[in-house]
Assembly symmetry: D2
Homo-oligomer: 410 residues x 4
Amino acid sequence: MFQTIDHNNKGFITKGQIFQLLEKRGLNTTDPHIQSIFGFLNRRAKDTKIQTKINPEKITEKDFNTIIKNHENFINKIAEDTLIIPNFHKFSAQIEAIFKKTAKNKTGKVATYIPQLAQIDPDQFALSLCTIDGQRLNLGDYNTHYCAQSTSKPINYAIALELHGTKKVHQHIGREPSGKSFNEITLNKAMLPHNPMINAGAIISAALIHPNKPISERFDTIMKTWEQLSGGQKPGYNNAIYNSEKDTADRNFAIAHFMREVGAFPPNSDMKDALDIYFQSCSIELTSHNMASVAATLANGGICPLTNTKIFNLETVKNCLSLMYSCGMYDFSGEFAFTVGLPAKSGVSGALMVVIPGVMGIALWSPRLDSIGNSARGIEFCNRLIEKFKFHNYDNMMIEETGRTDPRHK
Amino acid sequence: MFQTIDHNNKGFITKGQIFQLLEKRGLNTTDPHIQSIFGFLNRRAKDTKIQTKINPEKITEKDFNTIIKNHENFINKIAEDTLIIPNFHKFSAQIEAIFKKTAKNKTGKVATYIPQLAQIDPDQFALSLCTIDGQRLNLGDYNTHYCAQSTSKPINYAIALELHGTKKVHQHIGREPSGKSFNEITLNKAMLPHNPMINAGAIISAALIHPNKPISERFDTIMKTWEQLSGGQKPGYNNAIYNSEKDTADRNFAIAHFMREVGAFPPNSDMKDALDIYFQSCSIELTSHNMASVAATLANGGICPLTNTKIFNLETVKNCLSLMYSCGMYDFSGEFAFTVGLPAKSGVSGALMVVIPGVMGIALWSPRLDSIGNSARGIEFCNRLIEKFKFHNYDNMMIEETGRTDPRHK
Amino acid sequence: MFQTIDHNNKGFITKGQIFQLLEKRGLNTTDPHIQSIFGFLNRRAKDTKIQTKINPEKITEKDFNTIIKNHENFINKIAEDTLIIPNFHKFSAQIEAIFKKTAKNKTGKVATYIPQLAQIDPDQFALSLCTIDGQRLNLGDYNTHYCAQSTSKPINYAIALELHGTKKVHQHIGREPSGKSFNEITLNKAMLPHNPMINAGAIISAALIHPNKPISERFDTIMKTWEQLSGGQKPGYNNAIYNSEKDTADRNFAIAHFMREVGAFPPNSDMKDALDIYFQSCSIELTSHNMASVAATLANGGICPLTNTKIFNLETVKNCLSLMYSCGMYDFSGEFAFTVGLPAKSGVSGALMVVIPGVMGIALWSPRLDSIGNSARGIEFCNRLIEKFKFHNYDNMMIEETGRTDPRHK
Amino acid sequence: MFQTIDHNNKGFITKGQIFQLLEKRGLNTTDPHIQSIFGFLNRRAKDTKIQTKINPEKITEKDFNTIIKNHENFINKIAEDTLIIPNFHKFSAQIEAIFKKTAKNKTGKVATYIPQLAQIDPDQFALSLCTIDGQRLNLGDYNTHYCAQSTSKPINYAIALELHGTKKVHQHIGREPSGKSFNEITLNKAMLPHNPMINAGAIISAALIHPNKPISERFDTIMKTWEQLSGGQKPGYNNAIYNSEKDTADRNFAIAHFMREVGAFPPNSDMKDALDIYFQSCSIELTSHNMASVAATLANGGICPLTNTKIFNLETVKNCLSLMYSCGMYDFSGEFAFTVGLPAKSGVSGALMVVIPGVMGIALWSPRLDSIGNSARGIEFCNRLIEKFKFHNYDNMMIEETGRTDPRHK
């Protein structure tokens, strides 16, 4: 990397040159992982202890090697442009073009069952992506908070898996698409929810998160997980949404009572508390900027690419992606799996979280929903993405295709 | 490769040495692709015209370069052991160990609805695999013919896609799991079969294959496709099965009449002919040796690795794998997708075709079926395969896992 | 009766006076029962042997007593106006008023799935009624033949009951409303048709009619039963309808194949023959005049009031009426039972057969069907009938109601 | 009647002779109707004002005529043994024989979902019948109180009909059998409960009873109706049952939430209050003695035969009987309608209320339930009743049957 920057062989490089290269590669110097390597260059002498001797405006090769110690592999990828998405600026431009085309879509309607959603400016549109190497792109209203809603379902499911393992969790929740409408009051043949991506299953996921602890601690576990998934950024919480959700939740109460009656709840769990945690989880708020980090963590086998922290086990992520793929898009799941071929989860706020396993996570948000309840622009963006890039689960990577490219490093 | 073999620098190598290396890599000298390069070494002088001057027992480096001309890339992979499965013999031993463990499974019952299936020796067990580089392994009864049955469904669907394209085919067949039993007399909300992997959809696939041609020509198209997929080996045909199937096909007649009534058949198609072609397709017979080539072709983006012939387009293969993944294992499809995570198709004969995209195809056959109708040993083998190898669709390839390996070349 | 007619004490009465009184009571001298008593008065001397000495224009009381011997009870009812509907002319006028109001209804559409039904003049409207004492009223197109269609279902069910008894018949057919659409391809939990009033059940009824005899004899049994039910009038048969029905019967073939597959057919029965008999039964043609006699026989416990012949056992009639009440009006059965409260069976030809148990049978025919498939005018007539008369199954006969009367003799 | 008693022409009769005849006819001197005529004979002089001059031990014909003034018709029936069941003692003996046979049935299990039901002595068996003329028979544990449970459904439905009329009530409740299990969480196509005899519909009936009044007044309306239906006897109330019902009512809460969500509740009604009234109604307790009066009132067109008070309109009763007939016996309703052919309603306490329209009401109680949830002895009794008597809805009254009699006066 030193040589890459110092192509004129001056013998030293500057902080500015480093940051310029990082930015060119899509890396953000404020992200924790980059901060941990280069962050001190921005701080005053008194703030840093170890590397005080290095002059940010005149970094020698030796200094540089000290700085990047233990990160050689990552730094080489940066230098050689072999991060998972090489030529990130070209890729960003392609994504932006798709984003702009999609922004013209004004079809669909915002959800109106609670006033908090009904009053949202329907024209908003945010896209953030984050690769497994931490490369990031933000477009549109990426700094606006929106409600997680059903995008909280895979996260609570993952937390339940971490706490209990696959076997125990699936003694209480099925793992197949239902063939039924997402909010139908129906259980599978074993009298369990069909899967954790529908309301019934998500209520059981909630019930499985520390059932013996007080609600406040249980919800704290969930919030801390979101914070870690967001690369250390605390999520917001919309209490008005929570109150409204609870007041209009007849169908969820119906399914919860039904489940309690047939004994679908795990032992020692409390139905009302589970519902409460479910409603609270739906009321968590994020920016697409942070949601992209969440999705990228799932793309990266459970390790947040912004912090290199392991948050979920491989098996947790595998299960989560499997069910997002088959069941994540309400009644459109089968069609989405066929045409787009990516694990994803949508929410009634217009949220959409898409995972390209081993490559990146994408967070979209646009409040207008199609008739099935997915963000109309979200769906269009995904279709355009797959038209352009070989990201479909069953795309063949070895055979070239006219008009479609695979932008990932091989 | 010359150097690899001539490691003592004799200046020449022998036919035997070449064939020994090929075999070590899992390559079969009788397969068309290998034949086309090295086959002439086995023939007498008068059989070959071009390369008569080369002495199979004393091949110089110059001779060798002549032989491998246009195949340098493939030959290098052989020399460097960088075919998709390096160290094929180790991998083969691992597969064989799983095969032997699975062979102990004597659970399940052979299908009895027709005498031809009821009378089959239930202990038979065959496994063949074929990688996208043509590496092959055969175990057990791999030379015995068995009926394709429902493994013909993805092939007829693929043929229909080749003839009409995705859009037109799916005006007549859905593309989602049904959430219903595989042979239920039910259609989706659009009054179409739920997908081409269930009987209703397969009857429509059959209806879409050259509806205006005579049945004999239509079936010929299907047989020729199987021949190509098998690397040029003609499939067999079991007329007794065909007759029995037709005689016991009340459910298929029921669903066909129902579909005709609601207008689900494509224009100009004949219900009875479609059923006939459907029954005939089920009666095609293959060895697992050849079925592995069929699966490998799907793993290889539609190009048969034994002949390098392009049989299906990328989109055809993508669609086919998508629906095998979500709908290929009868009522067990969702569970199989979750736990095994691979596109597969089973048949009532005990046939099971598994595709590891970009890696290999596996053909299994063992007649005893579990309660859902899948080969009991087939299912067990797949479970053991995934316990050992990182072949699950949502396995993360970049993070190592204790006890599970990724045998593919990276 | 003699006194009733001879109120001036002339000492004799005339044929004309007798016939005038009969007519006043709603009795038809051409009906077999009346013919058997008074018919000879119309014939020339040579045609009759026994009563030649009686002068039709001068019948003494002694003569009269000879004539009515063995019929005293019936004759007294005539004289005293205590037949089941006293003051028949008033009642007829009330029915005619309803008929005329109903005739204004031009809603609905004729069935078009076969040309024979599509081409029928949709404005036709026939009403015939026949009491359990043989009193008759005919209005509109009562002499036009129309197809029995589904009104043949209760008759074939009744024939099956006569041949095998309740227990055996209902080993093969259920006896409850299905809660499903009448032609859905669905069976009950025991994998039997829900009841004999839907297509599936009617096919099984057909299968149960002399399964070991040739089709011609089996159909002959059916035709002879209709003849008896019609008071000796031979029904017609529309072969063009039969051919068309058979050609457009995909749903019936579907349900029949489905039933054969699950073993719903009785032992030794042939599916195709059963379907054939089913289609033929649908193609029987009657006038409303004769259909009213069919309905009256059911109202009269299985004895045809025109001939006093016992055709069905009490248990047969009881079963038949029970299921006509709960299942006879397609998807409207429940609503019809609630609002009209009478056993009835409709057909796609616009036929409607209504039974007022212990009182009368009514046959209506008007080809325009409502969206559920019942004759639009037929339904309206029944609603108006119940508004006016206390004929609902759960009307209380002992408490008077404003605006509604019970015209039957008490 | 005077003559009937005074057959020796003594010129006077005694109180004892009158009461003996009443008893012989099945009439109970303590019942209000009889009391109002003959009750004063039992009282001391000072208790009665009008008839003080009559000597109960020496009643002359003139006295007698004074006593029965305005009741001549009823008294004549008593004298002539032409009450609806003549020869009541013979009939009673026949019923008692059936009762004794049925008592041997020890199959079935008491309901155990709440302790109050689980702890009941399962061997108890009560039968009471009351004719439309007030003739009564009591057998077994007829003085023991048991919970109304679902037998409260037709009563609340009737109250709702009285308050709003057929049209309005059925804007909120369907009126057909559902073809589904009685407590399935399902609504009809109009998103309304299928009928008022299932839980969903009964909750809506409760919601329709004075929705704007306080719960206490609403329940009071219900209790007062039961009191009137019982001939003035106040029903009991089991608060422990109420508490238990409420605590175990997940399915009812589920269906209520579901209904509220889809807007099935009437405007201005409160879901929780409706549930409360529903649970309270289920907790009303009666003896079979009083329940027979309830059933008899329905048999008598809404007029209680013990008091001659009009409680329900004819239309209310008609609707109620229609739906008891088609939907009153849970999943056995269709089979019961076919085989027994009478309107009836069962409850999980083992209660069974049967109506023979125009004849009598029968109340049965035996706690052991069959697998469908109906009283095992209750069902057996009904079957035996219909074997012996021509009480089936579609029995033909004019044709005699071997082994079956019609005991009613004609």
